[in-house]
Every structure is written in C-alpha cells, then in structure tokens.
C-alpha cells in the first residue's frame, strides 16, 4: 500500500519535469536558433515572400503566444512538421523509433550480458590478471570515442576481412523491408516467415551492436566490479561464507544481488542515452534511427524536428530513471520501508 503510494508519487513527478523540459527546449530553440524562415525560402526570394512564410509558420506572433500554441499542439501530440522530411515530427519519431530501439536493445543486452559477468570476474579475481585484463579492456571501452571504434570495426570486418556487410543501415541495399508489424526487423522478418531476411538483418546489426555493446559493457563491468568488491567485503557475505555457502552461491546469489543496485542505476542512464539514439554511431552506420535523425536536424537546423526530438529524448531519460527507481523499489527492500 505504502509502496503503491510511493510509486504513484514518483510517477507524478514525471509531469513537472516534462513540463520543465518542454519549456526549456522551446525557449532554447527560439532564442538560440534564430529564425527558421530562411529554411523555407529560396535564397533569391523577395522580402514580401519571406513575410508571408513567416506568418504561415506562426512566427509572426509574439513569443508567449507561440509558446502557448506550442504547448497546446503538444497536448495533441502535434510536434509540428519537419522541414527536412516533410513529415509530421511525431510520425518521424515514431517511424524511426524501432530502428533505434532494436539496435539499442541488442547493444544494451550485449553490454549487460558481457559487462556484468566481466565485472563479477574482475571482482572475484581482484588484483589478479583477469581483473587487470578486464579493467584494461573496459578502460579502452570508455576512453575510446564510439565513432572511432565503429570506424575501426568497419575497416576490419567489412573492408579488410569482408565477412560482414557494410554500414548501410538495417538491411542490405535493395532488400525491401518486411511488412511493418512491430517495427523490429528481428521479429518482423520471422513473422513474415523469411529466415533468410532475418539472417541478413542480423548481419547488418552485428557491427553497430558490437560497437554499442563494447561501449556500454565497459562502464557496466566497472560499476559491477566495484559494487561486487564492496559487497564481497560486507558483513553479510562474511556470514554467508561462514555458514558454508559455496563460492558460486556467494558470488552470484548473495553478492551480485546487492551489487546490482548501482548497476541498475547505471543501466538506466545508459538506456536513456541509447534509446534516445546513439547519435554518432547511427550516423556512421547509416542506421535510420533517431540518433541520425537528430544529427540531421541539427546539421540543417530543422527546428521542429530538433525540438520534438529533444523532448522525446528527455522524456525517455526521465522515464528511464523512473523505471530505475521503480526497479529499485523491487530489488532493494530497504527502500520500500
């Protein structure tokens, strides 16, 4: 009951944050980015034409009126029309979401699936060679720019070894997408009963997912390691050992469960970032996801698209932390008290 109320209170907090984010985004975009009219007019247009367009874009109103209009439209999920795609921003985001989610989920799972065991290994072999190895590799994973790792992987696996396909997005060129059911190619291809297509999609996914996995596994491994080290020095682990529990039980059941708490927080943050689009990564792999969309809108000052994207990304971030907090309430009984 108390738990329910805590969850509810925590969820309510999303709204003021969302409102803050939207307001900030709006004014930041208006104040910093100037007048988008120029995007809509040919360079040699006359001044009268410009005024006409300005009015059509709703930019002739005073700023507060624009702001209220924006909020009102937002309530109806209307984020405006993107100049570069000619689509409604909401539809654009929705279209690109599956690509980002799919890559993000696979990359994140990869990161979690390797990061946590690596962290555990490093912790239990603390200050011995497996630890140094893990720490060295993960140090690289954190210190190397993601775009750089991606480039290197492409040049190795596509250019030199030619065992993986090039960075052309989710499917090889010329291969049409299966009918959109979930938007996830891993699922839709199978639903369409086309395992060959599934395999093609998997091959396209390998390099970007590896890059993403590498850069997410690294912090996860490091946090896991230090949390495990801390947990393993705790009194309750000493108790578990003294009661005769075996090493595996001690590590994976008793320590890891406690060590997971900071890891969950980290994963929440990382997931927030990833699902908001790994900007440079998607761009390098021409992955048609939200990150690439964001980058393009930044490069072309696509006002509406950018604003819509930032709102989406921030809300996602807020939601990720909401999920983390809720998870926390389930993992850590102390918080429920």
């Amino acid at each position: 009951m108390l738990l329910g109320r805590m969850i509810f209170r925590r969820m309510l907090w999303v709204f003021p944050v969302a409102f803050g984010v939207v307001t900030l985004t709006f004014f930041m975009a208006r104040v910093f980015n100037g007048d988008p009219t120029e995007l809509y007019v040919p360079p040699e247009a006359t001044d009268a034409l410009r005024a006409q367009i300005r009015a059509r874009l709703g930019l002739a109103d005073p700023l507060p009126v624009q702001y209220v209009n924006y909020l009102w439209n937002l309530l109806r999920f209307d984020l405006g029309i993107s100049f570069t795609t000619g689509q409604s921003v909401a539809a654009d985001l929705w279209d690109r979401l599956p690509a980002t989610l799919e890559l993000g989920l696979v990359g994140l799972s990869l990161g979690i699936a390797t990061g946590i065991p690596l962290g555990v290994i490093a912790a239990v072999y603390r200050e011995r060679w497996p630890d140094f190895l893990v720490r060295g590799v993960t140090l690289g994973g954190m210190a190397l720019p993601q775009f750089w790792v991606g480039l290197v992987l492409i040049s190795i696996f596509f250019v030199s070894l030619r065992i993986l396909p090039g960075p052309v997005g989710r499917l090889p060129i010329g291969v049409p997408l299966p009918a959109k059911i979930t938007g996830f190619l891993m699922i839709d291809t199978l639903l369409a009963g086309d395992p060959a297509l599934w395999w093609q999609a998997v091959r396209q996914l390998v390099l970007p997912a590896l890059t993403l996995g590498f850069s997410t596994a690294s912090p996860i491994a490091r946090v896991t390691r230090s949390a495990m080290v801390e947990a393993m020095q705790s009194d309750y682990i000493r108790t578990a050992i003294a009661m005769g529990h075996g090493r595996r039980v001690v590590w994976f059941r008793y320590s890891l469960r406690n060590a997971l708490l900071p890891v969950v927080t980290l994963i929440g943050g990382v997931a927030g970032h990833i699902f908001a689009g790994a900007v440079l990564l998607e761009s390098i792999f021409s992955w048609p996801g939200l990150g690439q969309y964001a980058l393009q809108s930044i490069e072309r000052s696509d006002f509406a698209a950018l604003q819509g994207f930032v709102i989406y990304a921030s809300l996602l971030y807020v939601l990720a932390f909401l999920v983390v907090d809720l998870l926390y309430m389930f993992i850590d009984p102390r918080i429920r008290a």
């Binding site: 980015n33 210190a143 190397l144 720019p145 480039l151 040049s155 970032h273 900007v279 440079l280 950018l306």
Partner: protein, 293 residues
C-alpha cells in the same frame, strides 16, 4: 592451564605462501594516470614554445604524406604536420576539458554545498531544476547549443561546464546533506562557526574525495565530448588542431590507407581520457572512507 608468556617475537621468518593471498593495492593506477597526464601537460606546454612545424600552416607537406623522418607522424589532408598539430592539440583538448571541469566543479559544488547545508525549500527547488537539466542527454545538449551559439573555445567550454554542473551540484549536495549532522560539523557549529563556515571550511574539504573522483570521470567525458563535437565539425575553429576535428579531417583516409591522420589523434584522445579514468579509479579507491580507516 596457563600458557607461558611468549617471548617478544620478532617478525617470523617463514612466510607461508599458500595463505599469502595478495598484496594490497600499490598505487599503480594512480601512478600511470598521473604519468600520462603529466606527459600530456608537458607536451601542451612544450607546444607553446616549440613544435616541429607551425601546426596551423597547411601545405608544409604535399598532403597525406606518410610518416617519415621529416614528418614523424605524417601530414594531413592539407599538408600540415601531424606531430605539430597533435602537440598543439594537447593544449586544446586538455585545456578545454580541464577548464570546463574547473568551472563546473566550482559552480556546481558551491551551489550544491549551499543546497545541501541549508536544505529545505531552496534545496528542493534546486534539485528539481537540476533534474530537468539532467534530462537532456549531455552530448546532444552540447551539440545543440554549440550548433546554435556557434563554434569556438569559449562556447565549447561553457557548454561543457554547463553540462557538468548538475552532477557536481548533486554530488556535493548529497555529501554535505549527509554529513551536516556529523559530529564534527556539529562540533564546529558549537565552537561558534557561522553556517557558511561549517559548510565550506569543515564539510566541503571532507567531501573532496568523491568530488575529486568524479572530477576525473567528468574530465574524461568532457574530453570525449570535445572530440565528438570536433568530429561533427561543431567544435572549435576549422583549423584548430583539436583531436576530434583532426580525426574528422582524417576520416576520409581511414578506408584509403592514410590511417595515420585519424589514428594518432584517436590514440591521443584515448590516452587522455584513459588517464582521467585511471585517476578517477585511483582517487575513489584512495579516498574511500573504508580505506582511510
């Protein structure tokens, strides 16, 4: 039964190796981290007075000259000397991340200390505001602002420090908030210290550990973001020998065999961020209260 009092034993000679589990941490991470950082600083300082060639001058070589005696790290697309640019780049990447971190650190911890010590409504208001700012993904925020207000060192530094402030604020706030009822803080109040003195003289210096450890992480992040901005062409001026933009300038060589143009700046970035991370590791270890006993 009574055991005779044992003679004052000097250190036993036989060390039983099977029970000798491990040596405690020698500060290798700290040493390596400081070593690399010192090297970078030295290079940055040296580049102020000497580089093999002028790092800003194009056309010294033909462009894409492979590493040779004349150009130990080759030349870039415009024929500028890579080694000179790499050396000068230390100034920018190091300078930017350190300055940004210094600003974020100062502003963030000051506000955080106030919020943490005084608590109450102001504290809650600040925390909520910070939460909103933190909802913006850092790199994206930096890209957005730099794209909007324009490139340039000052802008990049300001944006990076702005991105960092919330973290310091929260960290300092949490530390101070937790410690403000510690006995030495109360003792400090009882000897007549005004609140600000308790907060800044007594509490804050004792929270440097976590803050310092985070500072390294933040510095690494700043260096990476600087490089990413540079890579996107959103960073500093176009001819600035910043490593990220150097990678971007050399990106076209990756697949055509001129690997050195983007390889060396990549290495430089990794060295710098790596050393920051190592320092962060070491510092959080060293300042861990359990180690301080």
């Amino acid at each position: 039964m009574k055991i005779a009092r044992l003679p004052l034993a000097t250190l036993e000679t036989s060390v039983v190796p099977s029970r000798a589990r491990r040596k405690p941490k020698s500060y290798w991470a700290l040493r390596i981290g400081i070593g690399i950082l010192a090297f970078y600083i030295a290079v940055a300082l040296l580049s102020l007075v000497w580089t093999p060639y002028d790092p800003l001058t194009p056309g010294i070589g033909d462009g894409y000259d492979a590493p040779s005696l004349a150009f130990p790290l080759g030349t870039d697309r415009l024929g500028a000397d890579m080694l000179s640019r790499l050396m000068a780049g230390a100034r920018y990447d190091l300078g930017i991340s350190l300055t940004a971190v210094a600003i974020a650190l100062t502003v963030g911890t000051t506000i955080g200390t106030f919020a943490g010590y005084y608590g109450g409504k102001v504290d809650i208001a600040i925390l909520r505001g910070v939460e909103i700012f933190q909802a913006f993904p850092g790199l994206l925020f930096a890209m957005l602002v730099v794209q909007a207000v324009g490139a340039g060192i000052t802008n990049v530094i300001l944006v990076l420090s702005f991105v960092g402030i919330p973290d310091y604020l929260r960290l300092a706030r949490a530390e101070i908030h937790a410690k403000r009822h510690w006995q030495y803080a109360e003792a400090a109040r009882m000897v007549g210290n005004p609140p600000w003195r308790v907060a800044f003289r007594h509490l804050l210096p004792n929270s440097v550990g976590p803050v310092l450890a985070f500072t390294s992480i933040n510095a690494a992040f700043s260096a990476l973001v600087t490089a990413s901005l540079g890579f996107l062409g959103l960073g500093l001026g176009p001819n600035t020998p910043e490593w990220g933009s150097m990678i971007a300038r050399g990106q076209d060589g990756v697949m055509t065999g001129q690997w050195w143009v983007s390889f060396f700046p990549g290495l430089a970035i990794m060295g710098l961020t790596g050393s920051f991370y190592l320092l962060g590791d070491a510092l959080s270890d060293i300042t861990d209260p359990r180690r301080r006993q």
